[in-house]
């Protein structure tokens, strides 16, 4: 299991160091700093083995977090846990930064003591943690309160406390979809899928049991037994085929498996109820047509055309196109017909922001960019 958890700033100075197991020596902290942070190379693997000690590391913003172990741990669990720790910290004090971590180190130690015992992750739900670990220190609790806390930390419904009351019971649902598309230089779609998630904000009293129905037009492809090419469209209705979905831990998975209903007791506040993925019949909101021309050895011309593909009644807002450029780009010239474009050296990209107002369909925007690179760009 996890033997220790370290947090460093970008210089490699230790901000947090918590050792859980005896097999992790004090020199482990330095070993990671010297071999990974100070190596200043691109990270070639998020798991590094130094002298029979394995370091799992994650870098977010300027902060390194490393979990260290000498055992054959569950690697997926370690990474999931580290991501969770980051989540927890964010929900306690906002952005992960050196300043914030230093400001809250006592709190972080307290949290680490609670959520990791002898290297075994315990309850990491922020909602519950906030009931008994606070920045203000512990308020004196009555006996009933204490019992309630402990039963919640360990209970079956670890993500919700009892006795929540709202004057108005409200529930909000957001469906967010990410379209992922891979296109060949010739404009041919190589692969496309939609990763969607259902985010719920619940302000409900008591312990409400909720049911979330999926439109019966949605078919889980994997559920079909036996048949490989089950054609969901044969009923004649338009259907959406979901390849796979995943649920928040509050959803009763066994019930979903048998009855196909999503039933759960929601945590209070905002959470991600489910994630899903589809690959069939994806209508792309945009078409991007890039034209790249190399003018001599040090100059390249890029022309990007963006076409909208959605209904007239819709409005495309906050559209951002990122065009990655070679590392040593210099002297970028931009000609932009719509919106604003800017070369951001720090991101190695040209960022083009625009709005598709209620223009008729297939409106084109055009832009021509020239930029030169220093001569030795492939060596």
């Amino acid at each position: 299991m996890i033997g220790g958890l370290f947090v460093y700033n970008h210089k490699g100075e230790v901000l947090i160091s918590r050792v859980y197991r005896d097999d992790i020596g004090r020199n482990a902290v330095d070993a990671f700093r010297v071999n990974v942070i100070h190596a200043r190379q691109q990270v070639r693997s998020p798991v590094t083995n130094i002298a029979r000690t394995s370091f799992f590391h994650i870098k977010r913003a300027n902060i390194w977090m490393a979990a260290v172990t000498k055992q054959n741990v569950n690697a997926a669990m370690v990474f999931e846990f580290m991501l969770k720790v980051i989540d927890v910290m964010q929900s306690y004090f906002g952005k992960i930064s050196e300043e914030n971590i230093k400001n809250n180190f006592v709190l972080i130690y307290e949290l680490l003591d609670e959520i990791l015992d002898f290297g075994y992750p315990q309850n990491t739900d922020t909602g519950v943690l906030k009931t008994f670990i606070t920045q203000q220190g512990i308020k004196s609790q009555t006996k009933e309160e204490q019992a309630q806390i402990t039963s919640q930390v360990t209970g079956q419904i670890g993500w919700r406390r009892e006795g929540i009351k709202y004057r108005r019971n409200e529930l909000f649902l957001d469906v967010l979809e990410y379209v992922n598309l891979l296109m060949s230089p010739q404009g041919q779609v190589l692969s496309a899928h939609v990763a969607g998630k259902v985010v719920m904000k619940s302000y409900l009293s008591g312990m409400p049991e909720c049911k979330f129905g999926i439109n019966d037009k949605i078919v889980m492809e994997a559920k079909g037994k036996g048949m490989t090419t089950e054609d969901p469209a044969r009923s004649g209705k338009p259907v959406v085929v979901i390849d796979d979905c995943q649920f928040h831990q509050c959803v009763k998975l066994s019930k979903f498996e048998t009855e196909h209903s999503i039933s759960f007791i929601p945590p209070d506040g905002e959470f991600e109820l489910m994630r899903y993925r589809t690959t069939k019949d994806i209508s792309l909101p945009f078409r991007v047509i890039p034209l790249v021309r190399e003018v001599g050895r040090t100059k390249m011309e890029v022309k990007v055309v963006l076409k909208s593909n959605f209904k007239q009644s819709l409005l495309g807002q906050k559209i951002e196109v990122k065009i990655p450029t070679p590392l040593n780009t210099s002297g970028v010239q931009l000609i932009c017909l719509k919106g604003k474009a800017k070369y951001k050296a720090s991101e190695n990209a040209i960022v083009w922001k625009c709005v598709f107002a209620c223009f008729p369909q297939m409106k084109q925007l055009l832009k021509v960019i020239k930029f030169s690179e220093s001569s030795a760009w492939q060596d």
Binding site: L182, E257, R275
Partner: protein
Amino acid sequence: MTDSKYFTTTKKGEIFELKSELNNDKKEKKKEAVKKVIASMTVGKDVSALFPDVVNCMQTDNLELKKLVYLYLMNYAKSQPDMAIMAVNTFVKDCEDPNPLIRALAVRTMGCIRVDKITEYLCEPLRKCLKDEDPYVRKTAAVCVAKLYDINSSMVEDQGFLDQLKDLLSDSNPMVVANAVAALSEINESSSSGSPLVEMTPQTVNKLLTALNECTEWGQVFILDSLANYSPRDEREAQSTCERITPRLAHANAAVVLSAVKVLMKFMEMLPSDSEFVTSLTKKLAPPLVTLLSSEPEVQYVALRNINLIVQKRPDILKHEMKVFFVKYNDPIYVKLEKLDIMIRLASQANVAQVLSELKEYATEVDVDFVRKAVRAIGRCAIKVEQSAERCVSTLLDLIQTKVNYVVQEAIVVIKDIFRKYPNKYESIISTLCENLDTLDEPEARASMIWIIGEYAERIDNADELLESFLEGFADENSQVQLQLLTAIVKLFLKRPSDTQELVQQVLSLATQDSDNPDLRDRGFIYWRLLSTDPAAAKEVVLAEKPLISEETDLLEPTLLDELICHISSLASVYHKPPSAFVEGRAGIRKSLPASARAGSEGVESTESQAAPAVIPAQDSLIGDLLSMDIGGPTVAPVAAAPAAPFGSAAMDLLGGGLDTLLGETSSSPAPPSALAASSAALLGDIFGAPAASATYVAPKTTWLPAEKGKGLDISGSFVRRNGQLFMDLTFSNKAMQPMLGFAIQFNKNSFGITPASPLQVQSPLPPGVAADASLPLATTGPVQKMEPLTTLQVAVKNNVDVMYFACQIPMHALFVEDGQMDKRVFLATWKEIPAQNEVQYTITNVMHSADTVVSRMQQNNVFTIAKRNVEGQDMLYQSLKLTNGIWVLNELKIQPGNPNITLSLKSRTPNVAEGVFQAYDNILHG
């Protein structure tokens, strides 16, 4: 609210100041001070001096302060065991506290304090806490048992904690169950007896499956991981367990998904592979695995490493999902490399066109490693999918035209593999390859190119010139290239004997005489002997048909793969190594997949054929396989079986008569230079004759010049005698930051007139972090000056940095010359002649050799036995030896059977060599 001020630094009297603050009466001040202490501790400062003061703050009802003090205790208790006892009372008291959070905190912290005396006090509170009414305390106590086991395993077993832990498996609270399972699994794995202390029964499994639906995500991981260690009794149980686990595949936590996949993959082995259940399960596994690829990059990496295993074990699962493994431009490099690997594994006739066009794109990327792998992948595609071979070859040719150095080199390496897979199909491109000869600077690429030239020597008009150009720098080449060059030239010679004889003689003498590499020497000798005895046989051996290479050579070895499948999601699956390879100490229990429950032959057969594809499993990369092919492949058999012709005549006849048959009437064989023939005969004698040359005692290399004294240059070395020539074998390691060059060596005057026979040949420049071996032949013709001790040699080594001086000892046995055998009568006369005061006696202790072994051992080191007598059960050996400077030493050895001590009497006209000779005896007999 800004705690960051505690990190700000440090004045001199800080510890003292903290001490006074800790003893302050005001609570707030105290807390501030403890926070400062913890901050100092974090940045690595030693604040253990404050131990008593911090412990004094423990008695408080402020929970936050208490936690801080406990944190301090966990860090320093081990270094101050006596002081730590002071804390015991508070712990015991806290374990009785009405607040369950405090009870749990106390028992949790106590388990982390690894001080024996505290551990003793831990037992009672722990026992109580395991039965606490509050589940929070029980779940903490469960983990504490594992902590205690780590400190003192016998105490856990004696005190009955294991049974209590087992009882917790039936606890009403799912989190208690989960932690108990985690603790039990750890105890089982680390049990000293090697067998699990607590066996799982179907009842416990049932309970765990129930708890699975209710506990936290981490608890689910613990339970699934421990279920993976359970073997169901029969098919039915396996199937029903699988059914209950399948819903976990829809969990949002990747660890839960992967652990569920592990259990399913393992239990699926027990089910008949053609059953409907397995088919539908296989189908259900694909979507969650694909979904893992949209998680954070680090989790993706773990998932991809595991998918790599799953694809090898059950290729069906993801065979239609090729596209999801296409690389995204903003993937981190480690994700890109893994995706590429999986793409190749999934490549098939159906999707090869898509894969190839992707790979071609990748080959123009910027990351060198990634590009190389992409090029290599194109080659693997060609070998795996025959229909695509032509397209792959033309893609590779396109890439070679780019003239990007590493792309060209990589392409040549894979083209060689393609040639092997499809002989006589694509040789038309050889001319293009030859154009790029000069740009190759990596050993693997050079070796591959040389292989191609040798293999197709008859089609390349100037093959001899090309190979000759390589031969010029033979000594500087990597051994891989040397071996390949040797083989290629022999091939060339066998194909075109008329005009390449000189070349082959040159390479054979380079390989057998000027090289220190035993592999190279041996291969050289084998070829030489083959060519000289039976060229027809040589042809059969060297030009034998090669076995086709298969695309499966890069698969993991099946037993390893099966073991790794049992470790899915764990670190072992990320490294693709069994846990024993990176976990210290306890060997643990090797995991293996369960056998199919169907005893019937067909069931077994079907799973076996799946588990072990009919290929020679080789963990090495293709290239390793190819390069060792000439010697390690099937050709080995004929070599070993080659008729052992009486060696003497054959060796004398080197390249003589035997060649005639090769050359036919067209040319008469030129007689080889006699000197060469003679010395080679001697060499061959060493190799093929009974006493192997390698039996000469060689002292292990010792460090003569440590890097600290050598300005970053580290020299170690030893003296050896090879084939009548004294050598100084040196290893130069560059521990500095810059490359070193311009090496030279010089000796001071010494007792034996030793001086370098040729200039020092070291790899130059020697890059940082590299070690190079050099062998310096020595002559004994230099100026003589007596040293104290006699065998001291003072050496000066020069490089571009500085001149370094050091002294070393020459082991006397390296100075024993080959003609040290004295005639019997001369021996007797000399023995009598030398005055008795010149006789020195030593005892060599602990020698377990018989007289005969002693004789042969000493003989190998140029100490010759003149006579042997048996006197009253004792073996008396009379031996003579001669030193390089002509001093004779006469020895008498007394060996008593059963007595490990040998008495050695030495007589010499110069008695001061006696000590060195005795040392030599001692080393040789113990070496």
